[in-house]
Amino acid sequence: MRRIESQIDTNAPDYKANYAAMSERLKEFHARQEAARFERPQRDIDRLARQNKLGVRERLKLLLDPGTPFLEFSTLAACREYDGAVPGAAVVTGIGIVQGREVAIHANDASVKGGAWYPHTVKKIVRLLDVALENHLPVIHICDSAGGFLPLQHGVFPDRYLGGRVFRNQVKLSQANIPQIAVVGGHCTAGGAYVPTLSDYNIIIEGTGAIFLGGPPLVKAATGEEVGVQELGGAVMHTSVSGTGDYRAATEQHAFSLAREIVSQWKRKPKTIIETASFEEPYYDPKELYGIIPKDRKTQFDMREVLARIVDGSRFHEYQPDYGTTMICGYAHIWGYKVGILANNGVLFNDSSLKAAHFIQLCNQNRTPLVFLQNITGYMVGREYEERGIAKDGAKMLMAQGGSVVPKFTVIANASYGAGNYGMCGRAWDARTLFMWPQAEIGVMGADQAANTMADVKIRQLEREGKELTEEEIAAIRDPVLEKFRQDVEAYTSTSELWDDGILDPADTRNALGMSISASLNAPIEDPHYGIFRL
C-alpha cells in the first residue's frame, strides 16, 4: 500500500503558528484533565483516609495489569455542570486489561460527593454499559456510592435512560453471556444494592463494604428496628448468611486479587477475525498534527495530511481518488487492523455523498470496520443542489452508514455541523467510540450563523413593530447570543454533556482508535443488510 506523500512544510510560518496555538490549547486540556482526576478538597481526601478506603485511581491500579493502557472515557464529563464541583461526574469508566483480557470498568469516585449519582453520573455509567453490550466486554463494577443525589432525583431516577437503565443493562449483559463482577468497597444502598446483586460475581470488602435496600437510619424510621451496618449488610452477614455476597475480602488489596482471579476463570471467547497486517508506526510524526490543524477553524486543510499521522506506515489505498473529492474514502491499517476510512475534505455534495454510501457498502461486504474523521460544515445547500437531489443522496449515505453492521468509530477532528454530523456517524449513530479534538466544534450550525439567524429574527420582529435599530442596538442583541453559542459549540460543552467519549490530544488518536477497534472485535459481526435506498 502506498505511503501518503506529505506536502507539509514544518518550517512554514503557518505551521509554526498552528503548532503554538494547539500546544497552548493542549496545555489547558491536560491541566483540566489532571485536575478532574486528582484535585480534590482536602476534607474529601481526609474522609476517605478516615474510612480506611483507597481512592478510585489506586483501586484501578490494583485491578489492572501493570504497564497496560487504560482507555478512559469522558474524564471531563460534567465539567460545565454543577459549578464544576462534580469532576468526572463522580465516576471513572473505561476499557482496561485484566489478566490479559479487555474489560469495561465502572468505578465510583467516592472522593467526589461521596460517589453520589448525579444525572451526568448515570449518563456516564449507562454509556459504559452500552459500550460493554455493543462490544461484548465483561464488566467490573467498583461500588462506592452515597446513592442518588436527592436534590436532583428526577434527573437520576425515572426516565428510560436514567438510573433504571443501569440495572436493565446489567440484566441484558447477563442475558448475552457477558460476565460481570462487582467489588463492593463502600455502601450499596437502595437501587445501588442491585449493582452487586445483578453481577455474576461479587466481592465485599470487610469493614467498608455493605449492601442493603435500606440503611440503618431508614430501617429505624420505617420499623423502629435498631441495627448496625455490619449486621444489616456487612461482608460477613452477606457471604455467610444471606448469600447475597460471594466473596469476603479482608482488605482492598485482597478484593482486587480475588477479582483478578475470577477473571482468569472465564472461558476465553475467540475474537472476530478481520484482515490484519503487521504493526507499523506512522511514517510521519503524529505530533505534526498540531501544526496541520489550522488555528482558525474556518481554514480548509487536507485530511490526507491528518490520515498520514494516524494510520500504520502512513499508508493509504484511496478509493475513487478523482470523484466526489470533498469526501476521502479508502483503506488503511491502524494497529495492524484493516479499516475503511471516511474523511471530509470539504462540503458534502451529491457525488461525495454517493461515493461515501458506496464505500460504506464495500466495507460492510468486506467486514472492514469504519473510521469516520469529521471536519464537516454540512451538506451543500442551494437551488442547483436541491434540483440534483442533495437531500436524497444524503439519505442514501445515512441509510448505508446507519445500516452498517461493521463496527464504526468516529473522531470529530474539527467542525461537526448540521446533518454532516449525522452522515459522518455522530453520537446518535452508534459509533463504538466517539472522540473529539480540543478545538473541535459541534452544532446545528456555526456560532456566527446561529447568532446572526437569531438576531435577524429579533430585528425583523422589532421592525414590524416600527422600531428602527442602530448598529449598537443590533450588536447588543447579537453579541450575547454569539457569546453563548460560541460556548455551546465548544468541545468542552460536548464532553461535559457526554455527547462524546472524551476529548483527545490529537497525537493520541491512533492509540485510542487502536484500542477501540481491538475491543470491538470481542463481538461478532453479523451479515450485512440494509433498508431502502432512495434511488
Partner: protein
C-alpha cells in the same frame, strides 16, 4: 506481475516462488532455483544458486534491505508497483480556476500580470462556513481575476485565469 526492486538505483523485476521442494527466483530471463540458509550468526546466510554456495549478510532497514555479497554492499529497495506504473498526470493543468461551489470572495492575493508559482494562493473564498484557498495550478502569469473581495459568485464561475503557456 513481478515485484519491482531498486538495486543501487537500478530497477529489477523478479518474484520468489516455491515449487514444493525449492525456492525459485522468477526473473525476466528465466527461473533460477535458489536456497537461503541461516548460518546462526546475526544476519548471516548461505545463498545457494547456480551450483555455488556464497556467504551473504543481510540487514533490513525501513526503506531498504542491505545485502553484503562478494565484498560489496547493495541497497535493495522495494518499489510500489501502483505508484511506479501510474505514469505522469495526463495533460497540462487547466489554466482556469472555477468555483467549486457558490460563495463569496474573502481576499484576492494576486493581480493580472503577476508571475505566480505552482501552489501559490491566488484568492480565498468562503462558502458553507469554510474558507478555501484557491492555488495556482502551475507556474505562470495571471491573466485575469474577475472578482474582488466581498463579491459573490456562482457555481463554476471563473475565479482566476492564467495566461496560456507559450510553446
Amino acid at each position: 506481475m513481478q515485484r519491482i526492486f531498486q538495486i543501487d538505483g537500478e530497477e529489477a523485476e523478479c518474484w520468489l516462488s516455491h515449487d514444493g521442494n525449492n525456492m525459485n527466483l522468477n526473473t525476466p530471463d528465466g527461473v533460477i532455483p535458489c536456497q537461503l540458509e541461516p548460518t546462526g550468526t546475526p544476519g548471516g546466510y548461505v545463498l545457494r544458486m547456480r551450483g555455488r554456495a556464497q556467504n551473504v549478510r543481510l540487514a533490513v532497514g525501513p526503506d531498504a534491505t542491505f545485502v553484503h555479497l562478494n565484498g560489496k554492499t547493495y541497497a535493495v529497495g522495494r518499489v510500489d508497483p501502483a505508484e511506479r506504473l501510474a505514469g505522469n498526470d495526463s495533460g497540462a493543468a487547466d489554466d482556469r480556476i472555477v468555483a467549486p461551489m457558490p460563495g463569496v470572495v474573502v481576499s484576492v492575493n494576486a493581480k493580472p500580470g503577476d508571475h505566480v508559482k505552482e501552489g501559490q494562493p491566488l484568492l480565498v473564498i468562503e462558502s458553507m462556513k469554510l474558507e478555501t484557498s484557491l492555488i495556482a495550478p502551475r507556474d505562470g502569469v495571471v491573466a485575469e481575476i474577475p472578482f474582488a473581495a466581498g463579491d459573490s459568485f456562482g457555481l463554476k464561475a471563473t475565479l482566476a485565469q492564467l495566461a496560456p503557456e507559450e510553446e
